[in-house]
């Protein structure tokens, strides 16, 4: 599985978990032509707004570490 495939899969898993199956269908199409950074930033923004920054960090940190992605919190 490529980096993009893995991040997309994880992002879609989270979209389904918090926003349901129909929203997942919409995001599956939306992520198709997006690069890894955009997908990660999109899911981070969506989750931060919905489940709060603390829980978002818990949920996304393993993925960010694995692929050396920077989270908004770390940039600040």
């Amino acid at each position: 599985m490529t980096k993009k495939e893995e991040i997309t899969e994880k992002a879609l898993e989270l979209v389904e978990e918090y926003f349901g199956s129909y929203t997942k269908t919409l995001y599956t199409k939306f992520y198709e032509d997006k690069d890894v950074k955009t997908i990660f930033a999109s899911i981070e923004e969506l989750l931060t707004e919905t489940i709060g920054p603390k829980k978002t960090k818990t949920v996304l940190t393993p993925l960010a570490k694995k692929y050396h992605l920077t989270m908004q919190d770390d940039q600040a």
């Binding site: 979209v15 389904e16 978990e17 918090y18 926003f19 349901g20 199956s21 129909y22 929203t23 919409l26 995001y27 199409k29 939306f30 969506l46 989750l47 931060t48 707004e49 919905t50 489940i51 709060g52 920054p53 603390k54 829980k55 978002t56 818990t58």
Partner: protein, 269 residues
């Protein structure tokens, strides 16, 4: 521009003002069916509509769809119970115990299953709760369970009443114990999402559970003055139940709005 959320909250506030006016302008609580029953019945439909809104946005497929379907059925049976109660009062029949009670009672396990399914989906982390907080939550739950058990189960049993009446009365006590446990779980869920929009959803639902619990305990203790039409008991208990309907509606509406805004982000691009 006024946001949908503000329209919704404004609508609830207007409804609340109209309700208070109804109760104080037509205080005819000893005449069976009362004008205020109309506004009460409207409130009991709010959570049905709000869960339906959230369910349509989440989609019926998947785990959320299943959890919300149980909650939808719970509020629908509650609404049918309220409607039957009002009809029985309107035609001059004693509504307690009656078919309305079966609908009320069925709504408790349906809500329990629905919320439990949501709880499992949200993957709430208990490990971050300190031992002291866990102890306090357990003590508060036990204290409230003692009150519910005493008034809702022990005192609910009436040797002079029929088996059916006792069964109905005591089942409410069991239902209230279910509500109490759910309220503690939902409070933890709200805390888990502090800083995010889901906090308002779960805090609204928590308030709904607590208002229902207090109203049910009050009804178990003050059933007679309530049924005799004593103004203060009618106002306090009805306002608690109406408050619970509004809080549930607020919580589930916010849940739907969260999903809607996530979908809009993609659809508007």
């Amino acid at each position: 521009m006024i946001k949908r959320n503000q329209w919704f909250t404004g609508g609830l506030l207007i409804y609340a003002v109209v309700t208070v006016a109804f109760y104080f302008l037509f205080p005819d609580f000893n005449s069976g069916f009362k004008q205020a029953d109309f506004v009460y019945l409207i409130a009991s439909f709010f959570p049905v509509a709000a869960v339906m809104y959230a369910l349509n946005l989440y989609g019926r497929k998947g785990q959320h769809g299943s959890a919300l379907t149980f909650m939808f059925l719970s509020f629908l049976t509650l609404f049918v119970g309220e409607a039957l109660w009002a009809i029985f009062e309107f035609i001059g029949l004693d509504p307690y115990p009656s078919a309305a009670d079966y609908f009320y009672i069925i709504s408790y396990p349906l809500l329990f299953i629905g919320l439990l399914k949501e709880w499992r989906l949200m993957k709430v982390d208990w490990s971050e709760v300190s031992g002291f907080s866990k102890l306090m939550m357990s003590l508060i739950t036990l204290a409230l369970a003692g009150v519910v058990g005493y008034f809702g189960l022990y005192l609910a049993y009436d040797a002079g009443a029929g088996a059916l009446e006792n069964f109905v009365a005591m089942t409410y006590g069991v239902g209230d114990l279910i509500l109490l446990v759910l309220a503690m779980f939902v409070l933890k869920m709200a805390d888990e999402f502090k800083g995010g929009r889901l906090f308002y959803t779960w805090f609204g639902i928590f308030l709904g559970l607590i208002f229902t619990l207090f109203a049910d305990i009050g009804f178990a203790i003050y059933y007679e003055p309530y049924e005799e039409g004593v103004f203060s008991f009618n106002v306090i208990l009805d306002f608690l139940w109406i408050g619970s309907f509004m809080a549930y509606a607020y919580g589930f509406y916010r849940m739907g709005e969260i999903v809607k805004s996530a979908q809009d982000r993609v659809l508007k691009q």
